[in-house]
Amino acid sequence: MDAMVDVHSQSGLAIDKPKVVARDVNVYYGDKRALNDVSVVVPDRGVMSFIGPSGCGKSTFLRCINRMNDTIPSCRVTGKISIDSQDIYDPSLDVVQLRARVGMVFQKPNPFPKSIFENVAYGPRIHGLCHSKADLEEVVQHSLEKAGLWKEVRDRIADSGTGLSGGQQQRLCIARAIAVNPEVILMDEPCSALDPIATARIEELIDELRQNYCIIIVTHSMQQAARVSQRTAFFHLGNLVEEGNTADIFTNPKEKRTQDYITGRFG
């Protein structure tokens, strides 16, 4: 718990149950440094949003949390990120296991070009979570229910996932992510490709999911950050400028840059 105490002293904020703790994270793409010494604490069972102008590194940081950046050959990460005090960049840790614990929802809905059922069942199947067909069906139904999609697709569960509307596809992706029962869900601008109604549905869903999961959401919409998150971190030019309770950040930012950004002066 040393790390936790460290972070507390650094940010000056007390968090009851930290889930994800990042300390001095630097990310390099080749020679280019994309993140400078970012340290963040994400609480369990809540929503934390990362805001900031385009190219500020918030998505890069998000992808560090489930080591998605590993797939980019030129990318290099230093520093320490831990989930439940376990270092996720520890060489002994299996990255596939990590990604099962840290689910991800992407900017563009990306269901597999398979049936709705297969989309949700894929994760449980490869992780051997279900031992019978009935069991699997139950998990799929449960996940779709939690993603608020069950009522809409129950009659066409065998239809292709790509045939759904954009908002439905994104909820399908959320169902797919929660089917493996992760501890953390990362959302990379999940509503940027959706219309306001679909966005509202997703936001409702996020609000429900935070009872059970630690959710980290990257968003360009400050209203969305204010609506769905309890904590907010503001990134700018690869630096974490400010981190705090969402209400504080939006009403009483400590940093000038934060204030300028949330009042629309740049970004």
């Binding site: 998605m68 050959p73 596939v96 689910g103 991800m104 929802v105 992407f106 597999f112 070009p113 894929y122």
Partner: protein, 578 residues
């Protein structure tokens, strides 16, 4: 926004003027340019279409006749002693019996009275050496037919078959006015007529002689342009010959003789046919090609003069053969049927017996080896290079070399196959196994490149989605990326296979060019493949092989269309949207 456009820009940007003459001219020029571009495109398309249509029409025109052949349907008296000597009617005896006397007898029944040895030989040679195959099969099936007369199909030899497909000469007949009397029924016959029936022919012959003299003179003039001892002699000869011909043409002689450089004139009288060698206004003398029934007087209108327009020396079938074949046609025994043998038999020196089956099976066996080797290896190599290989100098080197290999001339692969598979590993010569391995080397780069392109075309979001739910890299590739890339991989593979199907050069090097009669039964049997068969046939002098060559090309093209069709079907079937 409209306000901004309406007011002069403070930054000094110029507005697009759409009404001035220059602007209109510019727009017109742009339209013209677009129309011209479109015309170029349509022109190019039309040109290719025309070439393609010409090519295909030409091949079809030449090749389709080879899918039919002609045979004579004759009553064959099956002599028990010849087929089953001593009453031994077992399969081996029947199979090995000599059927030639039977078919000869059947021909003699159909056209009786041919005494001339040479004519007899020409008659029997109209039939293929395997003419009695159908009869033999029927006897094997039902030995009770031995001793009876069997109506059976006798396959014609290639030249006779070609005669029915494409007549080498126009045949004209003219009814005669006089009453004709032949002086014999066989051998040399003279026909006397009461009218001057042959006067027109004499004139016609003189015209021909004059024309031939003109041609020879022209040839002599042409040759005399080249000074030289050797030519001078020839020129002199030609001039002498031309002079002689001209004299013959000019002298109003009442009698004229014919040779084989003149159109053939024949007299059809009393059911027989006489080839005229000498004729005057009122008489014609010649050899009988078909014997006359009697030497009775023939009334006006019952006898005819027949002309074979093309001189005998300019065609492959003799007058005698034409006489026989025309007689068969009149008898209604010549029958056209689909040439199954072409699709079921192996190669042969006799054009009418040669088939494509051996090459077809050889191609199939070879392509099978190619496919099972290069599809898995190619796809695995592509997956590794595209998804797993570290980016370093070695992988770059490998990539460059794969691209280079795709451009290596195919004969080089043949040399490689010869040196490595035959000489070093000692694999059998001419075998589909070696051909397949060699072609696999040739096709591998194509498949790797196509498969990599297909893998690259799968959106990365699919892979990310799979990784995001905790699939390993390999699971993501094999569960999601590869199935989506499969249509592209399949298309590449089939295009590669089509390429291999049409490949000749490397197979020549490993001995798949041998003349192979048997249809191969396994991967190590000696075999040949379709394009090599086409190459072999195109080289043969017999006229009938020209049609066979075109027909084999048709078969090859059908195969190619089939494969490309499969590629398109597979792509459509497995194509998914994402």
């Amino acid at each position: 926004m409209t306000d901004i456009v309406a007011t002069p820009s403070p930054l000094g940007f110029r507005r697009v003027d759409v009404t001035s003459a220059t602007a209109r001219a510019r727009i017109r020029a742009r339209y013209r340019k677009e129309a011209r571009f479109k015309a170029y495109g349509i022109g190019a398309l039309l040109l290719t279409t025309v070439f393609l249509v010409i090519l295909i029409a030409d091949i079809l025109h030449r090749g389709l006749p080879a899918f039919w052949h002609h045979s004579l349907v004759l009553d064959v008296p099956v002599d028990r002693e010849l087929v089953a000597p001593g009453g031994k009617a077992d399969a081996a005896t029947i199979r090995n019996a000599d059927y030639f006397p039977l078919t000869r007898a059947a021909l003699e029944v159909a056209i009786p009275g041919i005494k001339n040895r040479n004519a007899q030989k020409q008659l029997t040679r109209l039939l293929s050496s395997s003419a009695a195959d159908d009869l033999r099969d029927r006897l094997l099936e039902n030995p009770n037919l031995i001793g009876t007369t069997v109506k059976t199909k006798l396959l014609l030899a290639a030249d006779a078959d070609l005669y029915f497909k494409d007549k080498p000469t126009t045949i004209m007949t003219r009814e005669m006015r006089g009453t004709a009397t032949p002086n014999a029924t066989a051998g040399e016959v003279t026909v006397l007529t009461s009218a001057n029936d042959f006067a027109d022919e004499i004139v016609f012959i003189k015209q021909r002689l004059a024309r031939r003299a003109d041609r020879l003179t022209a040839e002599a003039d042409r040759l005399s342009l080249f000074a030289g001892e050797s030519v001078a002699g020839r020129v002199k000869e030609l001039r002498v010959e031309a002079e002689a011909l001209r004299k013959r043409a000019e002298i109003p002689k009442v009698e004229e003789s014919l040779d084989n450089r003149m159109p053939s004139l024949l007299v059809a009288i009393n059911g027989g046919l006489i080839k005229i060698t000498k004729l005057s206004d009122v008489s014609a003398t010649g050899d009988t090609l078909l014997p006359l029934r009697s030497s009775a007087e023939a009334k006006p209108g019952t006898w005819k003069l027949v002309t074979y327009e093309t001189p005998e020396s300019n065609r492959k079938v003799s007058d005698q053969e034409i006489a026989f074949l025309e007689r068969f046609r009149e008898l209604g025994v010549a029958e056209r049927s689909f040439n199954w043998r072409f699709l079921t038999a192996g190669d042969s020196r006799d054009p009418e017996l040669a088939g494509i089956r051996g090459a077809l099976v050889g191609s199939a066996l070879t392509l099978f080896i190619t496919l099972i080797l290069c599809l898995p290896i190619g796809v695995m190599a592509a997956i590794y290079l595209e998804e797993f290989a570290p980016q370093n100098r070695w992988t770059d080197l490998i990539e460059v070399n794969i691209n280079n290999l795709a451009a290596v001339p195919s004969i080089v692969f043949g040399l490689l196959g010869l040196a490595v598979f035959l000489n070093f590993f000692g694999l059998p010569r001419s075998a589909p196994l070696v051909g397949g391995i060699t072609l696999a080397l040739l096709v591998l780069p194509t498949i790797i490149i196509a498969a990599r392109a297909a893998l690259k075309a799968v959106p990365p979001s699919i892979k990310e989605a799979a990784l995001g739910v905790g699939a390993s890299h390999q699971q993501a590739i094999f569960h999601h990326v590869l199935p989506l890339a499969m249509p592209g991989v399949m298309t590449g593979a089939i295009i590669g296979m089509a390429h291999a199907l049409g490949e000749t050069a490397p197979l020549l090097m490993i001995g798949m060019i041998a003349f192979i009669v048997d249809v191969p039964h396994g991967f190590t049997d000696a075999a040949t493949v379709l394009p090599v068969q086409i190459y072999l046939w195109s080289d043969l002098p017999e006229a009938a092989f020209k049609a066979k060559t075109a027909a084999a090309i048709i078969v090859l093209l059908m195969f190619l269309f089939l494969m490309n069709g499969t590629a398109i079907w597979l792509r459509k079937k497995f194509e998914r949207r994402w």
